[in-house]
């Protein structure tokens, strides 16, 4: 029997995914304190790989992993062609537009300058509102951009809002919520349908009883 390969995102979602898998009786081979990137469970024929969050989709789409745990934010940003077969209920946060506290009107320029790690999501959002924007792609510390005058607003994921607050920013507009998803390669879905369905049932039964969110 073939292995089922599951790609897990390092970072924000890793611990919660691990707890969930543990509860489902699947994650016994994983040692969360190890720096190894591959874990194999020979008896259950499951293996796990740890990759960068934004790469989970790539691994799954190319079939190297059959399944993957990825944030909806990453999925939206990647133009992927995978199945999103389950919402895992954890890793909840929201996309929002934020700007300097108290400043609500931007009319200095003819276009709105938007700094973000998520150019595709931002582009789509503002295109729907027919707001012309200039995108400034950043790779981190996005909150800095309006403070130093690099942009008017930012588009980012907001979990608690603390980072915004301490930097004197506030949410101008909520965009939509995101959470962690179980994604699946389209061919694996066919060839491993029975095993994937069983795994889905196991995870569905856990819903609500694991990973209480903050």
């Amino acid at each position: 029997m073939d292995y089922i390969n599951i790609a897990l995102a390092k970072g924000r979602l890793a611990d919660k995914a691990y707890i969930m898998l543990k509860k489902a009786g699947l994650g016994d081979c994983i040692d969360p304190n190890s720096r190894k990137l591959i874990f194999k469970d020979d008896s259950k024929k499951i293996s796990f790989i740890y990759v960068k969050p934004s790469d989970v989709v790539t691994y799954v789409q190319n079939g190297v992993a059959d399944l993957g745990v990825a944030g909806k934010d990453v999925i939206l940003e990647s133009d992927s062609d995978v199945y999103e077969i389950l919402d895992l209920g954890f890793g909840k946060c929201k996309f929002a537009v934020a700007g300097l506290k108290g400043e609500k009107i931007y009319k200095k320029d003819e276009v709105l300058r938007v700094a973000t790690k998520y150019p595709k999501v931002s582009k789509r959002f503002f295109a729907e509102k027919e707001q012309r924007i200039k995108l400034i792609k950043l790779n981190g510390s996005v909150e800095l951009a309006p403070l130093v005058g690099l942009s008017d607003v930012i588009v980012d994921l907001v979990e608690t809002g603390n980072t915004l607050k301490v930097n004197g920013l506030e949410i101008i507009e909520d965009m939509f919520e995101v959470s962690a998803k179980l994604i699946c390669n389209r061919v694996s879905y066919r060839f491993k349908y029975d095993r994937i369905s069983k795994l889905l049932d196991k995870l569905k039964r856990l819903e609500g009883q694991c990973c209480e969110d903050n």
Partner: protein, 319 residues
Amino acid sequence: MQYLRIEDEINYSKKRYEIRKTIESIFLHEGYIQMEPPTFEDFDRYTYLNKRLTRESMVKVIGGGSEVFILRPDITTSIIKSLIPRWQKDLKLKLFYNSTVYRNQESESVKEIKQMGVEYLGEDSLKADKEVILLALKILNELNDMFILEMSSSKYINGLFNKIDAEENVKKQLKNLIYRKNRYELMSFIEDLNLSKDIYDILANIMDFQGSIEAVEYKIKQYYMNQEMEEALCEIKSLNEVIESEGYKDKIQVDMSMITELDYYDGLIFKGYLPNSYKAIINGGRYDSFTKMFGNKVPAIGFCIDIDELTEMKSKEVD
């Protein structure tokens, strides 16, 4: 460290040639005639006829008089465009191609994509459906007998969507959620749509409408069906008989929630998968209404084989 040597490259090319030969001989044996589509197409006319390809993805070439041409981005359109406008009544054609299409791709600029496929034009629907699906099964079986063929009829979803009273972009979003088998977001999306209970129940369960034809029939009969949806079920059932008699029954997965990337199909749709590949090797379906855009509505069905992915997969097998 040594990277790929010339011999490796030649071997790969040899492998690809053998695969093409194998498929070609099956096509010839089944009475298909080879057709070479034109390499260049008129840019303006092509984009007018085929709106689903983005203008950026087409590879432009400037002619001597500054006219803009494109390198063919798709073979079915090229074949249809040259034959359908002057179609003769009662003509029946079984055509195959062994060719290349060209697209601009973000990461690697111009990409050559090798494709083979068939188009069966002018034949009464059910007869052609049967012949073409058996041909696809035969080829898949020749390549690897562990294959899976996924099929449906787009009439099921089309029939259902005709009953949904909503704007086009809402329907598009709905289709996209079904395409991605995103049940969770689909549920919350239809919650707000104010649908009748019949329709709501189908959408809420549509991703379970898969398995053997008997299982699928049993499931969908418990829900609402209009004439078009009934037709879809009939089409699949009548194909099931030939598939069974040819011994391919256990290779078939019916999936009524199947949605294809191209939206010109109207009837049978199918995809062929091989183990160890990461995407579909065969994509096909019936596209009568697409021919109508070229002046005549002619029964038409065909499929396309991804030769690049197939070669890669086959050369992995050898290792």
